[in-house]
């Protein structure tokens, strides 16, 4: 009997309407641990090279980890992965909430979905039993209607649901997946993959207890962790303001992406940020399973044009930047309303904001005209144009049908020089952190296997001066300089990526875990061992994190990615035009040299391919033939 996990992986074939359970051995679980490693394992072993991500050949993986569902703050996340319809490469996207612990309590550690159902279906998983059920009555419903419908149909208000909205059904390439209307697997287009499989939702209900190897020790760590969360400054701030507290600091630092990454300071930022947010639209804190941080925001507002409902998840930092500063909109109710529409329709708000910004810049420069927009103008600062365009994208109507492809494909289709305003890396739109202000973060955007991704490494700014002592346990002792692009910066990124990778592999929330928040490296190792009964070391966790990065890299190389794809957007090679970072840029030649240095440090060859030695070191013998 394993501790902390079930030892069971559910496989569902929608084409054949069949399912079976795999029971991998303990060595497999201890090698891969969870999250992106589970995803890479199945994609690399089973997916033919070159398939269309929206075809029935794609494999969709919902993965928890060996510690998901332990009664500790932040041990509640899961990862969804497949081949991405946005990048054509490895996809993974994490979310918190309640669904992942429920899946563990229902008897499974992961769900692997293959094929395509002949008509819309949903999965109903209850305590080890699985049904593939008709979803004809659900197709076309938004995420809230879907949740309500399933609670009625299954006669249980305690079910936990992941679902897609109409955007996923219509294969918008950056459609997201949600659970409980407040938690979103936003990036890499996994909602479109669900839609392509005619899979509307997975409802789960579990009443089984997860066995902890040392329950008293887990409780003791939980008490310590939750007490520390109350007084540890990064967590104090998250409880009070959530991520909305980041807007002011990022804007003051001069790297808040504004007007499609053209500028780093938004003159209207104070109207979007805490405390204004909390004085106007804030309703209450919300949280994820067993988490004491409570960083989630619920918002509510009676408003003729921009009503807000507390059930649908309030705007967070990325949403405020996506639909606020990126579009030069300082109308907070409108920004929060746009976020709510994205949530209900099932659109990734990061990519959606970037796509709308791209369209507005094209319009400002005459590449798109009123002929393309049904006679409407698309100017920066126009809140109604933003909301109109989001609805057009979700419905795939008019210009929205083209923009539903993402900025890379949309710019190619529009032509007329639109590519110069289409900012993406590996085909994925960027999250909202200007790399000219934190160059380690820029390296993360360039080197992430999923395309531009800000959950790749901790942000440089926290490790200035004595802040670096948070990474002492990983062997980094020199303070980090946010604006430097040199070998020391690459060493910070390399080490930081490993620390962050531990959280991604174990499906832990970065907002409770190492290296910034209340969990420490030492206590994290203790927690993993108290849950599983193993005797893992930090070294073993770092190896698992590296395994994740290497397997995703091998997948991308197999799909034809090359070092040219490890790049940045052109605007970051140009001087910041204004603000505290005026004149700052990243030198493209220095950047290319740093990427090669990263390959050297990683044990990859000059083409960015993990070497035979690296694969053997990580025990990935089965990848030697790739």
């Amino acid at each position: 009997m394993p501790f902390g996990y079930n030892g069971k992986i559910l496989h569902v074939d929608l084409t054949r309407e069949a399912w079976n359970v795999e029971e991998p051995d303990e060595k497999w679980y201890r090698t891969y641990m969870g999250g992106s490693n589970f995803i890479s394992h199945y994609l690399l072993k089973e997916l033919p090279v070159g398939i269309d991500p929206l075809s029935k050949e794609n494999i969709l993986v919902f993965a928890c980890s060996v510690v998901t569902g332990a009664p500790l703050s932040g041990f509640n996340r899961y990862t969804i992965g497949a081949k991405s319809p946005l990048t054509g490469g490895f996809a993974e996207t994490e979310a918190g909430g309640y669904w992942a612990p429920e899946l563990k309590f229902a008897g499974f550690d992961a769900v692997i979905v293959r094929g395509r159902a002949p008509k819309p279906v949903y999965l109903w998983i209850k305590d080890g039993a699985v049904e593939i059920r008709d979803a004809a009555g659900l197709w076309g419903l938004d995420n809230w209607q879907t949740q309500e419908h399933l609670e009625r149909e299954l006669e249980d208000t305690r079910i936990r649901v992941v679902s897609i909205g109409p955007a996923g059904e219509r294969l918008v390439r950056y459609a997201c997946v949600q659970n409980d209307l407040e938690h979103y697997n936003g990036r890499t287009g996994m909602g479109a993959v669900m839609g392509s499989k005619n899979l509307k939702a997975i409802a789960v209900r579990g009443t089984q207890k997860l066995q902890m190897a040392d329950p008293e020790k887990v409780k003791e760590i939980g008490r310590w962790h939750n007490e520390r969360i109350k007084t540890h400054p990064p967590n104090v701030g998250l409880t009070k303001f959530g991520t909305t507290g980041l807007v002011k600091g990022i804007n003051d630092g001069g790297f808040l992406p504004t007007r499609n990454f053209k500028e780093g300071v938004f003159e209207g930022a104070d109207k979007l940020a805490a405390p204004a947010y909390h004085e106007t639209i804030f309703h209450s804190n919300s949280t994820c399973w067993a988490c004491a941080v409570r960083c989630k925001r619920r918002v509510e507002l009676a408003h003729d044009k921009y009503p807000l409902d507390k059930r649908f998840g309030g705007a967070e930092y990325e949403s405020l930047a996506a639909l606020g500063s990126m579009l030069a909109i300082d109308n907070l109710p409108a920004v929060a309303r746009g976020n709510q529409i994205c949530n209900l329709q099932g659109l990734d708000v990061v990519s959606t904001g970037a796509v709308v910004a791209f369209a507005m810049e094209c319009f400002e420069n005459g590449i798109l005209t009123e002929k393309d927009t049904d006679g409407r103008t698309l100017r920066y600062g126009d809140a109604d144009a933003m909301i109109w365009l989001i609805e057009q994208i979700a419905a795939r109507s008019g210009l929205g049908d083209v923009l539903a492809l993402g900025v890379k494909r949309a710019s190619e289709k529009i032509g007329r020089g639109a590519e110069q305003y289409a900012f993406h890396i590996k085909g994925q739109e960027l999250a909202f952190h200007d790399g000219r202000g934190k160059t380690g973060m820029a390296l993360g955007f360039a080197l992430s296997p999923t395309g531009a991704d800000h959950i790749e490494t901790p942000h440089d700014v926290a490790f200035q001066g004595d802040g670096v002592s948070k990474l002492f346990p990983m062997g980094l002792f020199d303070p980090v300089e946010p604006l430097k692009t040199d070998a020391a910066k690459m060493r910070f990124f390399y080490i930081g990526q490993k620390a962050w990778g531990i959280n991604n592999v174990l499906n832990l929330c970065n907002f409770v875990s190492v290296p910034i928040h209340a969990m420490t490296f030492g206590r994290l190792v203790e927690a993993v061992n108290a849950i599983t009964g193993w005797d893992v070391s930090l070294y073993e966790l770092v190896n698992a994190a590296e395994r994740s990065n290497v397997m995703a890299r091998v997948f991308n190389n197999r799909e034809g990615f090359t070092p040219k794809d490890d790049t940045l957007i052109s605007r970051w090679f140009e001087e910041m035009p204004s603000g505290p970072l005026k004149g700052k840029r990243i030198d493209p030649e220095v950047f290319r040299d740093l990427v090669q240095l990263y390959y050297d440090m990683s044990g990859w060859d000059a083409q960015g391919r993990p070497t035979r030695g690296k694969l053997v070191e990580l025990g990935l013998y089965w990848l030697l033939e790739n």
Binding site: H232, V236, G249, H454, V461, D466, G467, F511
Partner: protein, 74 residues
């Protein structure tokens, strides 16, 4: 007692002359922040002598306090 402060990013503008603040015995970090004119809302990272600190923590003579605003995550 003397406390050395090291401020980063937008908090730099609060740096006192010589980088030091004189505080009464028994002062806490929250007293230091008041003396500097910095709100706890604007502090993301707080280190005292290279260890994680708390806002209610007592400060000792010669302590080195590092403050960085919340500008990571998302």
């Amino acid at each position: 007692m003397d406390v050395e402060v090291r401020l980063f990013e937008s908090l730099k503008k609060h740096l006192p002359e010589g980088g030091k603040v004189q505080l009464a015995e028994g002062s806490r970090v929250s007293d230091l922040l008041t003396a500097l004119g910095i709100s706890t809302d604007d502090v993301g990272i707080l280190m005292i002598n290279r260890m994680d600190g708390r806002f209610d923590q007592l400060i000792q003579n010669g302590d080195v306090v590092t403050l960085i605003p919340p500008i990571g995550g998302g």
